[in-house]
Every structure is written in structure tokens, then in C-alpha cells.
Amino acid sequence: MSVTARPAEPKARLRVVIAEDTVLLREGLRRVLTDAGLDVAGTAADADQLLKLVQALSPDVVLTDIRMPPDQTTEGLQAALEIRRQWPGTGVIVVSQHVETEHLFELLADDPRGIGYVLKERVADIAQFTDAIRRVAAGESVIDPQVVSRLVTRPRRNSPLETLTERELAVLALMAEGRSNQAIAEQLYMSPKTVETHVGNLFAKLGLLPAAQDHRRVLAVLTYLRR
């Protein structure tokens, strides 16, 4: 089997630890990520192992399933919270099968920096997946577009959201996904200036205080959408 070599990153490769109890998936991920130019420093099959690896390897990003042995409930999530507490610099991506936001908000707590919440089927799009890892490593937040879109399209009554234009809604959704103004501008093919105007307008419409920092913005927008 030929391995397609990707251009090496100019800087040091990102060191990633993967926690996933299904062997096939775990090994698949290791391979995909390695192929994508990431350094998979270690893999764990349960939460205990994961914490030990993080302690030993100090990875840049941890990728963990929510459900893991022994109870198959939220061990991965608890491990992610523990990692955030002990090693705040480590980026954490939680891979979930829940479109619902309960776990997401537990994970975000009050600091969404370097946190990702990604649906499991996202692994099929390798480029998008590795992009999420890089963004989290850079301290950004990554919220799965499907989770956000469900929040945005929820039926509401007498909500200021109904007064937003389509453009403003698109900007809002991207903000909720954790995108920066720059990224939003690129994705929506508009100038950063226009993005800023939209952001200002929709914050005013929703009655939210303008937040300069991206991570504050993510939290404010998500909290608003969840109400």
C-alpha cells in the first residue's frame, strides 16, 4: 500500500494522544492522523490509561471518546475535565455521539479555550478533523457544526433571532462553532470588516454585550442559543 506523503509542517509536529476503546477505530485514527502529519504520541483504551499518558507525555492535544470502560457512560468526559484542571495548556477534543448540548456545556464550563466538541461521524472527513485538532491546539474552540445548526434552527417564539438576516444567522452559527472573524470572512467570502459589522449588528439585536475575545464570544453565543 502506498502512503501519500503530505508536506511536512514547518514547525514541530503536533503531539496527539488518542483515547478510544474500540481497537479498530483507535488504530484507524492513529493511522489517519499520522498520515495527516500529526505525531500520535500514544493511545489509550480507557480513561485511567489516558490520564497516565497525558501525565507522562504532555501532549498538545488529547482526543477522547465520551463513553469508555468500565461503565460506558461519561468516563471520557470526566477525564477531559480532569485534564483541563491539571494541565490547562492541553487542548482537548471530545468525540461524542450526542447532538444534545448537555455534555458540551459541562465541558465548556466557563473557559472554552482549547476545547473541541466533535460528533463521531466527523472522523470520515479527515481534513476537517485534522483541522479541528490544529485549531484546538492553537487555543481555539471547535464546536461541531451539526450541534450548532440544531441550536440555531430550533423553533423559538418572540425571539430576537427571528429578526436576524440570513447573513447574520450564518455569521452567528460560525461564531458558535468557534470561528474567528478572519475564518468567518474566508468561509463566507466577505471582508473582515463586513464580518465585524454583522457581528456588531447581531449582538445589538440579541441584546448581547460585544465581546472582543473569540472564546468569550463562543460562550455568550452558545449560551444564548441554548436558552
Binding site: T4, R31, Q72, V99, T101, H103, K120, R154, P155, S159
Partner: protein, 574 residues
Amino acid sequence: MNRWLRAALIAGATVAVGCFVWSSWLPNSQYAPVEVSFAVVGLSFMVAGIAAWQRWPASRLGLLFTIAGYLYLVPYILVNLANPAAWTIGNLSEGISGAALAHLGLAWPGGRLRSRFECGVVVANYVQNIAFNTAATMFWNPAFSGCNASCPANVLLIGNGSRPTLNTLDTTEALVGLVITGIVLTLIVRHWRSARGWSRRAMIPLLWIAPAVGAENILTGNLFHFSALVTYALLPLVLLAGPALFVISTVRARTAGGALGTAIVDLEPGAPPTRLRDALARALGDSTLQLAFRLPDGAGYLDTTGQVVDPARPGPGRAVTPVTEASGAVLVHDGGLEQEPQLIRLTAAAASMALEHTRLQAEVQAQLEQVRASRARIVEAGDAERRRLERDLHDGAQQRLVTLSLALGMARDRAAEADPELGSLIESASKEAREALTELRELARGIHPAVLTETGLTGAVQALVERSPVATTITAVPDGRFPAAIEATAYFVVSEALANVAKHARADGAQVMIRKFPGRLLVEVSDDGTGGARSEGGSGLRGLADRVASVGGVLRVDSPSGGGTRLEADIPCP
């Protein structure tokens, strides 16, 4: 008592009274009130005797009453017959009815004398009465009363008689009577004091009546001298208290019978045996009543106070009546009650009914508990099965599909450069896998929401609200965790209610409110839709009501037509 004997007794009583009236009839007599008084007293004793005989066939009371009646009237009939022999016999037996009354008082209420001493007292009383009568007759010259040839001859007269001797005899007889009356009254009071329960209460009317009769006996004796009207017409009416004794005891038994019915009706279903005993004792007027049950191992009986009872030896003055063979219960009661077999049977029947009622009640209750428990188990087993299914889906098919997606992603990336056509084929396969994954996720969530097990009601209800197609707000959800069955029930209430809102209500908005109160969880989902939801119909509400009932809760639906729907589940919750 058979009807021939009764007819004979009635005929005898009628003849006796008829003879008395006939024999003493004097037109325009000043003695008319005396005769009426005698006839009434004698007749009332005889009637009471017949009735008592009928009521207490086994007892001698009927006989005693009847004899007292005859002894009261017959001497006067004989005296009035104007025949020397009859006149003499009449005089000999005059006043012997007083001794019969003393006999009656001492034999009350059982009809039997209690000791040899009392037998002696009664016999001595009869004997002294006849002895004094005989002695007095021997010294009584009919000429003393002013009648000469018109009076019947005194067969026993010694010589011309003697007034002083007669007076001495009369005074002595009165004094002896006083002593005997005292003895009899003392004995009656002792009877009352030693009696318990039913018998003691049966003694109470006698405590009033006996002194009155005793006083009558003394006042009409030779120590006092009232006018003839008082002595012979008014004072004897006091003796009517004797038959009244019978009437009172009859009324009392009847009242007790009626009270039994009321007591059983008033006894709340499932009342403990102690309450049943108290109710029976109260109704019966027998404070000594014991309700005893056979011990399961057959080792004797215990009454409701925990005392050991031996039905073979109930103790002096006590009697045993089995309630029913099946119940293994017995009533131990005052022996005096044996005189009222009807009442005892009634009591046993009442006790048996109440015990049977309690037993059936307990049985139904136990069955109900079993059904409740089994329903709860079925629902819990269903929940567990759903959890297992969801987990199997998650750990099996879902993981495999994710792995497949990953592999397809890799394959696509590699094929894309070399063979774009193959790349797009793999891409569509990958898309299929993603969609299958989404569908599977929805399916698993429908089977059992993992978020409920993981985060409890807060997260699960939030998830339901987020996916509700109708604008829904959460007013309140308690933070804590509750037993799995209760959380699952509350979750299904909200889930089903929101599904109904989306399907039927045509509502603009809905509200979910879950509140915890001491001992219960109140789940409320309301909408502003068209209303008119009915839990009787074939809707999911019926199933939801069953689900809520499985944990002992109640589902209430308030859905006026055009006024929105309010669904409220009241679930017991520790």
C-alpha cells in the same frame, strides 16, 4: 317450648285470673280496686313466666315467674270459694308468693341457685311461710272478722282460737320476714359484686327492684298498718317490678343484637382484631369478652391482648363459643350469656363476617401489591432491556459504522488523486455510512436516551426541549438525581407530552416544569394549542398513564377544547 305447652300455660293463666275475678266478684264492692290490683299483678307474673319460658327454654326463670303468678292468685281464689277445705288451704298458702319472689331474686339471672346455703335460705323461707300460716290458721276464728254462719268453717281451728296468740304469731312472722328479706337482699348485692361482664349488667336492674319488692313485703306485713286500699291495692303494684325485670333483660338483649349490627358496620375495613373485640364487647355489654385465635402451630389459643386461652377450660362463670370452624377463632364470654343463645349466635356471626371481611381485604390488598410490584418489575425490566439495546447499538453497530466511515474517508483521500471516479464512488459510500450513523443515533436515542442515564433529568429534558419542533421552554428542572425508574418515567412523560404537542396540539409554544416536593416529583407539560386531548382515547396518553401508574404515580390531563393542554404527572419520589 312447643305451642301446646304454651297454649296450656296461657289457658291456665286465663282460667286462674278468670276464677279469681269470678270467685271474688261482689257487685258494688269496696274491694274492687284490690281485686283489680291483684289480678294485674298475678296476670303480669304469669305472662312474664310464659314469655320467659319461651325466651329461655333451658332456664328455670320462666317456671319461677309462672309459679310466682299462681302462688299470688290461687290462695285468694281458694279463700273465696266458701268451701271449708279450700278456705283452709287458701289460708295456709297465703303470702307464699313472697317466698317465690325471694327465690326468683336469688336465682336471677341464670335461673339456678348458686349454693347449698342459698338453697337452704330459699327452702327455709318457704317452710317458715307455711309454718306461720299453719300456726296462725289454728288460732284464727273466722268470727274475729265479724262474719258468723256466712263464713266457711276453719278446719284447723283449735277451740275458739286466740287473738293474743295470733297477734304474737303475726309479729314474730313479720320479724322473721324482715330478717330473711335482709339476708336475701345481702345475697343479691353479693351476687352483683362477684358478677362480671354480661351477668353483672344483668344484675343491675335487680339491684333496684329487689329492695322495692322487699320493702313491699315488709310494709304489707303485720308490723305496719295502713289503710286497706294502700296495703291491698297500691303497695302490691310494686310487685309489677318483677315482670319488669324480664322486660328489661329482653330489651337489653334485643338492643345488644341491634348494636352488634351497627358495631360491625362502623368497624372500618381491615380493622385489627383488637378493634373487633372492643366493638363486640361494647355492643354486647360484656366487658369480659375475649376474642381468641388458634395459633398456627395448633399450640393453643391467644386472645387479642396476647393472653393464652384454653377453650376447653374457660374458667368459672365463663363460656366458649366458636366463631367459625374455618377461622379458628373463639369467643370466650360471660357464662350468663349462654342464656341468650340467639345473641351469642349473632355475635359469632358478626365476628365471623368481620374476620372474613378483613381476611378478604388483606388478600385483595396483597394481590394488589403483587400486581403493582409485578407491573413495576415489568416496566423496569423493559427499561433495562432498552438500556442494554441502546448500549449494544452504541458499542456495536455505531462503532463499526464510525470505523467504516473512517476507512472510507481514508480510501477516498487516496483514490481521489489516482482515480477521481472511484473517489466520488467512495465519497457517496461514505455519505451513506454517515447517514446510516445519523439514523442509528436517532434510533438508539429513541430506544433509550443515554443522556438520561449519564446526566439525569436536567440534561435529558434539555435534550428533549432542544429537539422539540415546537418552541419549548424549561421553567424548572431539579438538579439532583432520582431513582432510575422515576427519572425514566418523568423523562417519558415529557417526551410523550412534547411529541403530542408537536403532533396534535397545533401549539405555538410549550412549557416544561419539573418540581420536587417532599415525597413526590411533579412533572408538568403545558401548551397553548387547541386542547381537547383525552386520556380515554386510544392516544399515547393511556400508555403514559399506565407508565406513570407503574411507579405509583397519577397522570392528570387538563385539556379544555380550545384552551391548551396541561399534562401533570404526580410521581411518588423519595
